[in-house]
């Protein structure tokens, strides 16, 4: 006797087949590529291409009006062996960095700590202290700074009112000119302050309460709780400020009229790079200076990150 087997219908797939998954994936990839295209084109033509071109030019003698002539490592050899201004500009830049970056952190953190105590009118204070960060890098402020610190400027006028009679041109003397630029940078501590303020809000109150119960005073709580909890934010601010200090240009250019004077005392590295490129039209050498700056900033950032392993505390890791 023949028996009919019941043909069960094939079970419907609940998961897509590998082929369907591949098709969906390539559709997503294509959509992503299309959205990225403007940025990709911009990166290739405006950033990547010129960066690679400058690497090539750093090994050439190129004056813009002629063709680049390959000279190998000559630009780099010149930089390290005979160019006194290269070292002078490095010294000025590093001095500026070592003085202004810590000062910015100190002012920013101090003010953020005060404002975190719940003062009245906090939004107003926040705005007032942030405004210099917005306008401080502008040409107008740099020109104003020149007038403030000139021999017959505002600072000497104020000093005269309080009985200090001086006609010193603070921007005209090599010993003080750089520090007027430091003051200009420190004046723009508002951006760092906002970030510190946000970071302080993230510190759990329970930690302070527990420390208070254990008898910790204000300074102890600051050193043992606030600073460690804020250390990732400090790392971020120091890194951003450090990179900014290496690249500082506007203030030195405007205040020294592009010369880096008086007597090279405000010759920032980027200003020297600009002079070699756009005053001397030695684009090959300027490109070499640019690549050296890239290496230095990279190494400095790396050193900072290495150092951060010892001093930065990430709460989630603990």
């Amino acid at each position: 006797m023949a028996t009919d087997t019941i043909q069960r219908p094939r079970a419907r797939r609940t998961t897509p087949s590998p082929r369907a998954r591949r098709r969906a994936g390539s559709r997503n990839n294509l959509a992503g590529l299309m959205f990225m295209t403007p940025w990709l084109l911009g990166f290739v033509f405006i950033v990547g291409g010129p960066v690679l071109a400058s690497l090539y030019l750093s090994f050439t003698d190129y004056s813009l009006l002629g063709s680049p002539e390959w000279i190998g490592w000559d630009n780099y050899v010149l930089m390290f062996t005979t160019d006194d201004r290269f070292f002078a500009s490095l010294k000025v830049t590093v001095t500026y960095l070592l003085v202004s970056v810590p000062l910015v952190q100190v002012f920013a953190l101090a003010l953020a700590t005060i404002l975190n105590r719940g003062v009245r009118g906090l939004p107003i204070y926040r705005t007032v202290y942030y405004i210099p960060s917005l306008i401080g890098g502008s040409v107008a402020i740099a020109i104003l700074w020149r007038f403030v610190f000139a021999g017959d400027g505002l600072l000497n006028g104020i000093l005269g009112v309080v009985g200090v009679d001086t006609s010193t041109s603070w921007i005209g003397e090599p010993d003080s000119a750089l520090y007027t630029l430091v003051i200009l940078n420190v004046w723009q501590f508002g951006a760092a302050m906002i970030i510190y303020l946000a970071g302080l809000r993230q510190v759990p109150n329970e930690l302070y309460e527990a420390a208070t119960i254990d008898g910790a005073g204000t300074m102890r709580r600051f050193w043992s709780i606030t600073l460690p909890m804020l250390s990732p934010v400090i790392l971020f601010n120091v890194l951003m400020n450090m990179v900014g200090a290496f690249q500082a240009f506007n203030s030195a250019y405007i205040i020294s009229n592009g010369t880096g004077g008086p007597a090279d005392s405000t010759l920032f590295y980027t200003l020297y790079l600009y002079q070699r490129g756009f005053v001397d039209f030695d684009m090959g050498y300027a490109s070499a200076l640019g690549w050296f700056l890239l290496v230095v900033v990279g190494l400095a950032a790396l050193a900072l990150f290495r150092l951060s392993r010892r001093f930065v505390f990430y709460a989630e890791e603990s």
Partner: protein
């Protein structure tokens, strides 16, 4: 409906195509049949909004007399203009008419960026018959005319007549030697109140240094080298250092103030009694002083001379040039000819960028009631120098901008005691060896 593969990628291809076409866009202006006057050109120059207003009026006059021609204009301040010009020259994107100056023309001429204009002059497309020979020379490199000078400037010793009178010293004369000039500065300083000085520091100024070199019967440049003795430069630095230490010049901390705009310099602010200035700047300085009630009259005398040569008043020129790759040379030449020779254009422009070089237009400017007194004063001073043949010329080679900046920087080092005059001179010669190659 199932979309085809092409339909899916079509938007992506369109986006790339548009980006590619945009990148291929070229300069649409400055084109026409090269042999005839017509089409569009662009005139690029440096200056202030006040100058731009005058240039636009001159362009309107040219266009009304040349139907079918359109002239666009671009203006930037001096330093930005030179940087932009060099970058555009590198990219082959210079407009058909560019403002040039005898001091920075050489690298562009020598690297075949500029068109020699001799053929256009010979064919009378550009008429230079009313421009004096010595002025025309300022636009030449290797005996080829690369620039049509439209305005000249001459460096002189300028002084605040009221402040000098207040000091009790006599006014300087046209026959000074450098030693006599130093004595005069010290004499002026003796009679000035505290906070005022006899002179600005000229040691870092390339034009003043050029006068020093020429005034000692030497030349600035010879082929691709410096043409003067090292000791002459040591003496130059020492000369100003001595005056500085004697208190007869502004202190070195005021050196940055000397590089500010004319109205902000120690001379214009009544802090210094004298300084070297180009003729067109005399009136501007006078106006600034008068505006602050610090003086009413700025006069000028010839630069000091120690050698046997008749003059150290170095002449420079501003003018117009045509890039070699201009596709509308006929129109460019026509516009330059109009700017340099048309009387109405001259009366409109009023010598805004140096004393007009066309002698007939100088007459018209002096006769016109609308010409400001300061402009008439400038033209008169220049004519007087021309009549007396009290003018000198110098060459301005490739690398001059580097040496100009280096001289300023080196004297600052000397002024603040960072280096000796000898060391500064050695550094300058080393730099020249690299810059003038």
């Amino acid at each position: 409906m199932r979309r085809t593969r092409f339909a899916r990628t079509r938007p992506f291809i369109a986006l790339v195509a548009v980006a590619g076409l945009a990148a291929c866009g070229g300069n649409g202006s400055d084109s026409s049949d090269p042999g005839t006057v017509g089409g569009e050109i662009t005139y690029s120059y440096w200056g202030s909004p006040a100058r731009a207003e005058k240039v636009n009026k001159v362009i309107a006059q040219y266009q009304s007399g040349n139907q079918g021609v359109k002239v666009a204009s671009e203006v930037a301040d001096y330093n930005a203009y030179i940087e932009r010009m060099t970058v555009r020259a590198a990219g082959g994107g210079l407009p058909c008419v560019i403002g040039t100056q005898s001091t920075f023309m050489a690298p562009y001429a020598k690297k075949n960026v500029l068109l020699p204009l001799d053929d256009l002059i010979e064919s009378k497309a550009i008429d230079v018959s009313k421009i004096p020979e010595e002025v025309l020379k300022a636009g030449q490199i290797d005996d080829k005319q690369y620039m049509i000078p439209t305005g000249t400037f001459v460096r002189l010793v300028a002084y605040n007549a009221d402040l000098v009178k207040e000091s009790g010293a006599p006014a300087p004369t046209n026959d000074l030697t450098w030693a006599a000039y130093a004595d005069w500065l010290k004499q002026v300083q003796k009679g000035l109140p505290q906070g005022k000085y006899a002179g600005e520091i000229e040691a870092g100024n390339m034009f003043s240094f050029t006068s020093w070199v020429i005034g000692h019967s030497q030349q600035m440049f010879k082929d691709k080298e410096l043409g003067f003795d090292k000791q002459l430069m040591v003496d130059w630095f020492t000369y100003w250092l001595d005056l500085q230490e004697a208190g007869a010049t502004v202190p070195p901390s005021m050196l940055p103030d000397q590089r500010l705009s004319l109205e902000q310099t120690p001379l214009a602010k009544g802090v210094a009694a004298s300084a070297t200035r180009d003729i067109p700047h005399l009136y501007i300085t006078e106006k600034a002083l008068a505006g602050n009630k610090l003086g009413t009259s700025v006069k000028a005398v010839s630069m000091p001379v120690d050698g046997a040569i008749p003059s150290a008043n170095v002449l420079g020129s501003n003018g117009m040039s045509i890039p070699k790759d201009c596709e509308n040379q006929a129109t460019a030449a026509s516009f330059i000819n109009f700017f340099a020779n048309d009387q109405q254009a001259a009366l409109t422009f009023q010598s805004d960028n140096g004393i007009l070089t066309n002698t007939a237009n100088q007459d018209a400017l002096l006769a016109d009631a609308q010409t400001p007194d300061g402009v008439k004063q400038n033209v008169t001073i220049f004519r007087d120098l021309t009549t007396r043949r009290d003018l000198a010329t110098s060459t301005y080679p490739d690398g001059l901008s580097t040496l100009t900046a280096e001289l300023t920087r080196l004297y600052e080092q000397v002024a603040f005691g960072k280096v000796t005059p000898q060391a500064a001179t050695d550094a300058f010669f080393n730099k020249a060896a690299q810059a003038l190659r």
